[in-house]
Amino acid sequence: MLLSALGAIYPPARILTSRAELAPYECDALTSFRASPRAVVLAESTDEVVETVRACHRLGVPYVARGSGTSLSGGSLPIEEGIVIALNRLNRILELDPEQRTAVVEPGAINSQVSAAAAPHNLFYAPDPSSQSICSIGGNLAFNAGGAHCLKHGMTSSSVLGAKVVLPDGELVELGGESIEPVGPDWMGLFVGSEGMFGIALEITLRLMPSADRTRTVLSAYESLEAAGNAAAKVVAAGLLPVAMEIMDKLAIEAAEGSVKPGYPEGIEALMIVELEGDHETVDREFEQLLEVLEGAGATEVREPDDDAQRALYWEGRKSAFSAVGWLSPDYIVQDGVVPRTRLGEALAEIGRLSEEHGIRVANVFHAGDGNLHPLILFKGSEEGALERAEELAGEILRMCIRLGGSVTGEHGIAMEKRAFLPEMFGEEDIEMMRRLWRAVDPAQIANRGKMFLPEEELERDEAADPDAAPSSAAVAGTAGPPPGGASSGEARRDTR
C-alpha cells in the first residue's frame, strides 16, 4: 500500500527500496545509530513533499525529513517502519532581494550557497555552522543551528523570518513573514528548533546581513585551558562584542596541525581566536582594547594573522577540528553542553579533572563567547567497554553543565543522543508540555517519532528497573556498543562494526 501510494507520486527512479540504495540513508553524522527505512523518496518539488506527507498520514506511516544528513544527534536517523523524505534536490535559491535584505530558499539549499549568492550585493547569511559547506537550511532551521559567528549575529532563529510549512497531517500553513519584527505570537520562533517534529519547512525566508568593511582577528596562547576560559570571560565582561570567540586545547591543536596545518604557535596548552567586525573606525580602536584585555588576562603570545589567507587558515584549523580529531583517535563522542561564560574556566578545569579521573583523553574545541562547550571524548571502539566508559564521562560532563546553570545542548539538539538528558534538565511538567505540544501539532505522531522524548513505555521500564539509572549518552562517531537505555529491536540499532 505504501509503495503504491508513493508510486503515484514519484517515478520509480526516485523511490529507493533496495538495501544498497538505502545504505547511505541509514544514519546521519551520529553513525552509532542506524536504521533502515522502508523507503527513501527523492523529492524534486514541494508538491511532492506535501503529497508524501499526506500519504504517510493517511496510511499511518512515520516519516523523517532529511536535508544533508549531518546531524550530530541522530536527528535524521530513519524510522524502521517509516520512510525518509530526502529534500536535498530541493535546493534552489528562489529569490534574493538586497534592498529588503531577504532571500527565499528551498529547504535543501546549502547554507554556504546562500552567502555565496548574497556576496555580490555585499550581504551574507550569518549562521555559519562548521558544516556550512554541506548542511541544508532546512536542517539548520529544524535544529536552530549555530556557528562561530553566531556570537554577534544570533543563532539560526534570529535569521529565519518566515516559512511555508506542511504540517504532519498534510495541512499547509505560513508562519512569520518578511519583516524582521513579527506581529502576534512568534509561531515561526516556536517552529525553529522543533527538530522536524512539527512538520516540514518547504520554503524559507531568510534575513541577510550587510558584510562588515573591516574584520580583524587575533590568536592568543595560554598556559592552561582554564586560563583561556577565564580570558574569554574577561573579554565578555570588558563589554567587547566580538563576532566570534573560539577556544582550542592542546589536543585539538595537535589534531588540526596533523591535518589542515593552520600553523598555530607550537608547544602551547590552549589558544583562543577572537574576531572583531564592523566599520574600520570602530574595529581598529576596539582591537587595541582587545589586545590589552588579552594581555591582562595572561596570554603568553598574541598574534594577528599576516593576511586574509592566513586568517582563513586559522579558521580552517578551527572549523575542521571535528574531522581532524579522527586523526588522534578512531572514535569519539562530541557533546555540546553550555555553561555560563563566567564559569568557563571552572567548567574546563572540571572537564580536565574528570578526564584524568576516568583515564580518558578529552579534546576541547568550542564557542567560548557563548559558553558552548564541545568536549570530544576520545576512545577506541574496538576495546571492550570503551564506549560505555566514554559515555559515562560524557554524561558527567553534561550533568556538570546542568549543575552550573547551563544547558545540555547549545546547537546540536536533543534528537536521539540526548533524549535521556532532557528529564535531567527539565521537570516533568515542562516535558509534559512539550509532549502535549507535539501531540497537538501531530496527533498521529508520525513526524520524526522517537526523537527528543524517550518513548513512554521505555521511560516506565527504566523507572521500574532503577529510578536513579544513569541515562546513556551516545554521540559516537562510528563505533560499537549496545543500544542506550535498552532500545528494543523495533528501534534503531547501534552499529556493531
Partner: protein, 361 residues
C-alpha cells in the same frame, strides 16, 4: 463588573487562574488594547510579581519576575553600563517586563540589535490550566526542547501568564549620534534606504518619517564617531542635520515612547518591509493618519485616530495582506489585518490553553 486579582506569589497566581473560567493577565496596563479584558473575563494583575532575581553583570544576563517594571530593570543595568538593546517602549509609563514580552514591542534600536525575540533566553509561565512550565534557560545559548520562550513574544496574554523571564543584555555604547536627512519625497527616501541596506555602516536605528525624512542613528566609541558621521554623510549625498548629546537621547526617547501620538489616537504596530511602504502610504495619506516607520521600515507605527473604527484599519490591512496589532485604544480585537499561523497556531493554542481560559489570539 470585572473582578480583579493581584497575586504576590506564583502559587496565588495559579490559584487565581484555576478559580476563573476566563482570564487575561495584565502588567501595568500600558497597552490597554491588549490588556483590557473582553466581557466575562477577569483580569489577573501580575504587577505584584516583581523583583530582579539574578543579575550577573559579567555574564550579561538577568532573570526577573514578570511584573518587574522595565524602569527598575533599565536602572539596574545602567548602573553597570548595560542596557536592553531591543529598546522597549513605554518604560516611563511603567510598562512591565512581562507586558513588553507579551506585547512583543521593540523600539528603534531593534534595527541593528534585534528584537525582544532575539534577547529572551527563558521563561516560567502558567498555562491555561494553571500549570507552571519552564522553557529555555538562563544561558545565552540553548537548543534543548521546543522554544516556548520565543512563542511568548507577542502572545498578548493569550497563551500563558509569564511569571519569570531571563534575558541577555549588551554593554551600553559610549556615544550616540543622529543624522536627520530630508529627501525629495517618499521615492527618494526609499531609494536611499535601499542603498543603505547593503552598506557597511552598522546603523543602530533607521527610521522614516513620511514622506521624506530619514533618521539615522549611530552608536559606539566616541573617538570613532566624527569619522563615521563624515563617511555616512558622504554616502547620503544629501545634507543632513547632526544631533549629539542630551538632545539626541531625548529625541529618540520621545520617538520610542510615542510622544508624537495624539492623546486620543491609538498606537498600532504593523509588520512590513520597505517595498510595501508605497502601498500603505497611498492608503493612509488620504486618511490623515500620523505614522512613522521604524527598523528600516520593517515596522509601521500608526496613530489611528480615535474617531475611526478599528474595523476600518482591519480591512485596510487585509487588503494589503499586512498584519497589525493595537497597543492602545479599545478595538474589539487587538489583532488586525492578515495574521499567519493558521492550523499551527490553533493547535499550539489548544495545547497551551485547552479549556480556552485566555481570549483568542
Amino acid at each position: 463588573m470585572s473582578v480583579r486579582l493581584r497575586p504576590d506569589a506564583v502559587e496565588e497566581a495559579q490559584e487565581a487562574l484555576r478559580g476563573h473560567e476566563r482570564v487575561l493577565p495584565r502588567g501595568a496596563g500600558t497597552k490597554p488594547a491588549l490588556s483590557s479584558p473582553p466581557d466575562g473575563t477577569v483580569t489577573l494583575d501580575v504587577s505584584g510579581l516583581t523583583g530582579i532575581e539574578e543579575y550577573d553583570p559579567e555574564e550579561l544576563t538577568f532573570t526577573a519576575r514578570a511584573g518587574t517594571s522595565l524602569g527598575e530593570i533599565e536602572a539596574a543595568l545602567a548602573e553597570n553600563g548595560q542596557y536592553l538593546p531591543f529598546d522597549p517602549p513605554l518604560v516611563a509609563a511603567g510598562a512591565t517586563l512581562g507586558g513588553a514580552v507579551a506585547a512583543g514591542t521593540s523600539g528603534p534600536l531593534r534595527y541593528r540589535s534585534g528584537g525582544v525575540r532575539d534577547f529572551i533566553l527563558g521563561v516560567r509561565f502558567l498555562d491555561g490550566e494553571g500549570r507552571l512550565v519552564r522553557a529555555g534557560g538562563r544561558v545565552v545559548k540553548n537548543a534543548a526542547g521546543f522554544d516556548l520562550s520565543k512563542l511568548m513574544v507577542g502572545s498578548a496574554g493569550r497563551l500563558g501568564v509569564m511569571v519569570e523571564l531571563s534575558f541577555k543584555v549588551f554593554p551600553q555604547p559610549q556615544a550616540w549620534a543622529t543624522l536627520t536627512v530630508d529627501c525629495a519625497g517618499l521615492d527618494d527616501a526609499l531609494a536611499l534606504m535601499g542603498a543603505l541596506a547593503t552598506a557597511p555602516l552598522d546603523l543602530e536605528a533607521l527610521d522614516l518619517e513620511p514622506p521624506g525624512r530619514l533618521w539615522l542613528r549611530l552608536a559606539g566609541l566616541a573617538d570613532a564617531m566624527p569619522a563615521r558621521l563624515e563617511r555616512l554623510e558622504g554616502i547620503l549625498e544629501r545634507s543632513g542635520e547632526r544631533l549629539e548629546g542630551e538632545e539626541e537621547g531625548a529625541l529618540w526617547r520621545e520617538v520610542r515612547d510615542f510622544a508624537w501620538v495624539a492623546e486620543d489616537a491609538a498606537i498600532v504596530k504593523v509588520a512590513l518591509v520597505p517595498k510595501r511602504v508605497p502601498e500603505l502610504e497611498a492608503k493612509l495619506e488620504p486618511l490623515a493618519v500620523k505614522r512613522r516607520y521604524g527598523a528600516g521600515a520593517n515596522i509601521a507605527w500608526l496613530a489611528w485616530p480615535g474617531e475611526r473604527p478599528a474595523q476600518e484599519l482591519d480591512e485596510l490591512l487585509r487588503s494589503l495582506g499586512l498584519a497589525g496589532v493595537f497597543l492602545t485604544g479599545s478595538p474589539p480585537k487587538p489583532m488586525v489585518g492578515t495574521h499567519r499561523g493558521g492550523a499551527f497556531a490553533q493547535r499550539v493554542k489548544s495545547a497551551l490553553d485547552p479549556s480556552g481560559r485566555f481570549p483568542d489570539v
